[in-house]
């Protein structure tokens, strides 16, 4: 088995079919090794969310290979060992946080005691203790985002796939999320996350990939990328995108 937790090769994904087909990913390749924190950057519409959906088997490749935790992306057994935070956190608004964790926990095949234990831990971690009984329809956007992060951590996954984890969060919550991600790394987990927040990526990532127009235009360790132009990631990002313009 390869040491790469995520392996994407020459991935092409199209939305729609025939003449109205729209190519979202156009030969994207990425490898992510175990234990990395990989920041996936790119402008709006670059293909970040599509890549993540392809990893989870929510969209299907037209061509190319995707392996997640050594399994094909469509293989749901890999879902036991990963956690996913969607780009927009919408959960069943008629449930409360405790109930949603219980529901997901049951799908993971966790028993009642384990579900209760893990729910307490993850809600504590994201700072939602005391809100377990509030229906999600009464949650704010940021609180929903925290529920999203909590459910992604529920099964103590070895791989986390986070689509803009700090979107909608206040500065204190952002710091908290960064801390959570760093702690995950410390305990040997792999984190793959997309972001627009370059300063954030600079603070926590050890690897960075820049996607543009459905292709990976640059990737490497943060040090490599920064030493290349000795500037901030933000400047580097803007220059890369500008150069890549057709």
């Amino acid at each position: 088995m390869s040491e790469n937790v995520i392996e994407i090769r020459e991935l092409v994904v199209e939305y729609g079919a025939g003449r109205s087909a729209r190519r979202a990913l156009d030969g994207l390749s990425i490898s992510i090794a175990r234990g990395e924190i990989y920041g996936f950057l790119g402008p709006n519409g670059a293909g970040k969310t599509t890549t993540i959906k392809a990893l989870l088997g929510l969209v299907f490749p037209k061509s190319g290979d995707i392996t997640v935790l050594g399994m094909r992306a469509a293989d749901i057994r890999s879902h036991r060992r990963l956690g996913y935070l969607p780009e927009v956190s919408y959960f069943y608004s008629f449930l409360n946080a405790g109930e949603i964790m219980a529901m997901y926990g049951r799908i993971f095949g966790m028993d009642k005691r384990l579900i209760a234990e893990r729910t307490e831990q993850v809600l504590e971690l994201v700072g939602l203790r005391g809100e377990e009984k509030t229906l999600l329809k009464h949650y704010s956007k940021g609180m929903l985002q925290k529920v999203g992060l909590a459910q992604a951590l529920l099964n103590d996954p070895e791989l986390l796939i986070l689509d803009e984890p700090t979107g909608g969060l206040d500065p204190i919550a952002r710091i908290k999320v960064r801390e959570i991600i760093r702690n995950l790394k410390a305990s040997g987990k792999t984190v793959f996350f997309s972001s627009h927040e370059l300063s954030e990526v600079e603070l926590i990532c050890d690897h960075v990939g820049i996607v543009h127009g459905g292709r990976l235009i640059r990737s490497g360790t943060l040090d490599e990328i920064l030493s290349e132009r000795k500037e901030s990631l933000e400047r580097f990002f803007i220059e890369m995108i500008r150069e890549a313009r057709p």
Binding site: L58, I76, R77, Y84, P86, V88, F94, G109
Partner: protein, 254 residues
Amino acid sequence: MKGVWAVAVNVVREFFRRKDYYVILALTVVIVLLSSGYRFMGIAGATRYMRDLSLSLIWLFVLIITVVSAGRQLPCEIEKRTIYPLLAKPISRLGFIMGKFLGASLASIFGLTIFYAFFTVISAGQGTGWILILQSYYLQLLSVLLVASMVIFFSTFLTYGANVTLSFLVYFFIKLLGARLHDMAEQMAALPSFLCSALYFILPHFEFYDIKTRVIHMWPPVPAPAVTVLTVYTACYVAAFVLLAWIVFRRKVL
């Protein structure tokens, strides 16, 4: 399997937390109670009329609950994007479909059971055989499963509104004409005749499940072998619809 059950339980929970279903429940209780008023008016044939009305209302309400609750499952999950975190869990798309089907069926069966409990109480002491009422309940329960699976299948490729419309159209078309399709075919030219016969054999016959007339007139119960055959018949159709739903949904881009 645990995943299927978790999804089903969630559907039932939503059913109870949405207040509109309480309205339907309350309304039916009121109507059934009202119609039971006929009993005290002592008009000849009123009992029969009361039974007819109650059973027709039960039939209609259960049908509405089934179509509405099964029809909204997939479109809501997709529109509200709750399907993303759900399918990122270790549950297959087939498991998801089965859970939705099971949950929508259970919710409708809950309504059905309440309605029949009321009906049984009202018609107590009027000479209707228990076996007949039980059979009527059971057959409608089977029809709930059949309708729910059909609606779930439609929801894999239709919008909610189109689905509800088509489901009611198909349902009433079959209920009214299903039994006659075969006879109609015999009076037609070759091609329409063939199509008519084909429909007769392909479409699920919702009219099989309706033994209201028997209950109203207190005829003898349906023979047990017929009920058994109908159970197997239902199981085949439900399996086919769930399978079809999965075939369409399997590769759906979300």
